[in-house]
């Protein structure tokens, strides 16, 4: 068993989700040799390679593809690169993180290699059996891979936390020979720009705390109470589909089956009834708090702490009494 990790770097360091992918590889077989593939151009790439070489004790080598074609992580050149590296390395497994980088790239590379990838893996038992959530986590599907090599996976980083004692030796770094790189379909897409979201507030998908408001907030004006409370907690703001449909907030804040799937340490739901499609988006949260006037609301069935009360009284009181974020 030999594994190739498709890694993402940012400003010279390997992203933590990519290190989780290394952690996941250890579950395939404890003897697996792990190669980490990085692509980019210039000094940031070389810095990232140096970081990669010592970021996890299980990495046995770092492969670096240095070219202007890889300055931005576009799917088209990356997929071709994976195909090229796989032809030379004949890996049994290829793993990447299930984030926007991995989701964009892995299926395209898999199609070029004529294999079916398995996305969003949360559990690995041996080299060919994997568990992944389906129906937004309302069911878990265990699948066995019976196709030819490579078996390609994207893994949820929250399911493969990186152990703290990552003291490691320097893995050797080698350059990928790009002389046979196939330019076909490269250059048909061009990077234009990247707009970072409002950095004042954490990203809904990765936030430690999420504060969500439902239709019971009654108006966009009242929804500001949720935003104020979130600010106090250093939390991301979420909303139910009903609140979005009513126009209180924009679509991108929607938590649920068709919106964002979140799993923060603390999820606080205000005036949320607990529709099935909403529960699907937040049921993996560690601690769930629900505040609702209706004591029969289904949200209370999944809440660790429920408070039956008028949210127009509870939210201001919470805002006042909660300690400032650390």
């Amino acid at each position: 068993i030999s594994t190739l990790i498709l890694a993402e770097h940012d400003g010279g360091t390997i992203k933590s989700q990519s290190i989780s992918a290394v952690e996941a590889a250890k579950y395939l077989d404890d003897q697996t040799s792990i190669s980490l593939l990085l692509a980019g151009s210039g000094p940031p790439l070389q810095q990232a390679a140096a970081h990669a070489a010592s970021c996890h004790p299980s990495i046995s080598q770092v492969l670096v593809a240095d070219s202007d074609k890889f300055t931005y992580p576009l799917a088209e050149p990356w997929a071709k690169l994976v195909q090229l590296v796989q032809q030379k390395g004949q890996y049994s497994h290829i793993i990447t993180a299930s984030n926007s980088f991995g989701k964009n790239l892995l299926p395209r590379a898999a199609a070029l290699l004529d294999v079916s990838p398995i996305t969003d893996v949360i559990n690995i038992s041996g080299s060919s059996q994997f568990v992944r959530p389906i129906y937004a986590g309302n069911a878990l599907c265990t699948v066995r891979y019976i196709g030819s090599n490579p078996c390609m996976l994207s893994v949820r980083s929250t399911s493969f936390p990186v152990s703290a004692d990552s003291k490691s030796n320097e893995a050797p770094i080698s350059q990928v020979d790009l002389s046979t790189f196939d330019e076909d379909s490269v250059g048909k897409s061009r990077y234009v720009s990247h707009t970072a979201q409002d950095t004042e507030r954490p990203d809904l998908g990765n936030a430690r705390v999420v504060v969500t408001g439902g239709r019971a907030l009654k108006s966009a004006e009242n929804f500001k109470m949720i935003e104020k409370l979130a600010e106090k907690l250093g939390a991301a703001v979420g909303a139910t589909r009903a609140a979005v449909d009513a126009g209180f907030v924009s679509n991108d804040l929607q938590v649920g089956q068709t919106g964002k799937i979140v799993a923060p340490e603390l999820y606080m739901a205000f005036g949320v009834s607990g529709a099935i499609q909403h529960l699907a988006g937040m049921r993996d949260s560690k601690v769930i708090v629900a505040v609702n006037k209706d004591s029969d609301a289904p949200i209370f069935q999944v809440a660790d702490y429920g408070l039956v009360g008028d949210l127009f009284e509870v939210i201001p009181e919470l805002s006042e009494k909660l300690p400032e974020k650390k």
């Binding site: 799917a75 997929a79 926007s100 989701k103 964009n104 790239l105 892995l106 299926p107 395209r108 590379a109 898999a110 199609a111 004529d114 294999v115 079916s116 996305t119 969003d120 959530p133 389906i134 129906y135 309302n138 069911a139 878990l140 599907c141 265990t142 699948v143 019976i146 048909k188 897409s189 061009r190 990077y191 234009v192 720009s193 990247h194 707009t195 970072a196 979201q197 990203d203 990765n206 705390v209 907690l233 991108d252 089956q257 068709t258 529709a275 099935i276 049921r283 601690v287 209370f300 999944v302 809440a303 660790d304 702490y305 429920g306 408070l307 509870v314 009181e317 919470l318 909660l322 300690p323």
Partner: protein
């Protein structure tokens, strides 16, 4: 320019799914089925592009059992001009679907292929990227904004990526997969539902398209996720804060 849109028939998003007792899958018999929400967004985008005069025809494609034709009719009622149904009783995995779509693209020659970013049943999030790879077309996945330039033959796509938006410029023909924010799909009106009944749905089989239906995966079992243990009801804000600080230790 012609636009092709792939639409999938799935269990309605508002239905509480049930795992079969023999753990072989999720119950889909006698369950309300609808068009996958992301596919509705894909179709809506195609219709808007056509309405703005940048496309001449919108062709909707669905694959699977005979009942997929109902989903296609919904798409035709929303405004698609024609339907294509690839009939198969066997389960179709994303790689097979991508190969079938590639074969249809070679027949229909659309300038743009739009798909939902994922289906809410198997949550694979693969087909768009795969068909783009097979065709050698550029891809704009998780799109929240699409702008076409007919003269330059490019599409500028805003993509929802972790922590922000990325803008790409794609040469046409291209594949776009839709995210939630792209648009609000329309409802079919009664007159359009009536009109849709007379629109053409062409039928193919995977054999017609020279695609072998196979799978690299075997489902071992489908189970329910672990249940959350029952929580407690607190009586005041003070008690709630106390619990969060001293019991759950999350604030």
């Amino acid at each position: 320019m012609k636009i092709m849109v792939a639409i999938k028939r799935v269990v309605d998003y508002a239905v509480k799914i049930r795992v079969k007792t023999d753990k072989s899958g999720v119950e889909t018999q006698n369950v309300k089925m609808s068009m996958n929400p992301f596919c509705e967004i894909a179709l809506e985008e195609a219709l808007r592009i056509k309405q703005s005069g940048l496309a001449s025809e919108v062709v909707a494609v669905s694959m699977g059992s005979t009942q997929c034709v109902d989903t296609l009719r919904t798409g035709l009622a929303m405004g698609a001009d024609r339907g294509i149904h690839v009939e198969s009783t066997a389960a179709l995995y994303p790689l097979t679907v991508a190969k079938l779509l590639k074969a249809l693209v070679e027949v229909e020659k659309p300038g743009l292929l739009i798909l939902g970013k994922q289906a809410i049943d198997d949550d694979c999030n693969q087909t768009g990227q795969m068909v783009a790879g097979l065709l050698g077309w550029p891809q704009g996945t998780f799109a929240s904004k699409v702008l076409l330039d007919k003269e330059k033959q490019v599409a500028t796509v805003d993509r929802e990526v972790d922590g922000g938006l990325e803008t790409l410029c794609l040469n046409l023909p291209a594949v776009i997969t839709t995210d939630l924010r792209l648009n609000q799909p329309r409802y079919a009106t009664l007159p359009n539902i009536m009109k849709a009944k007379s629109k053409v749905v062409k039928k193919y089989t995977p054999q017609d398209l020279n695609v072998e239906v196979k799978s690299d995966l075997e489902v071992v079992e489908v189970t329910e996720p672990p249940k959350r243990k029952a929580g407690v009801v607190v009586s005041s804000v003070d008690e709630l804060i106390d619990k969060l600080q001293n019991e759950a230790r999350v604030i």
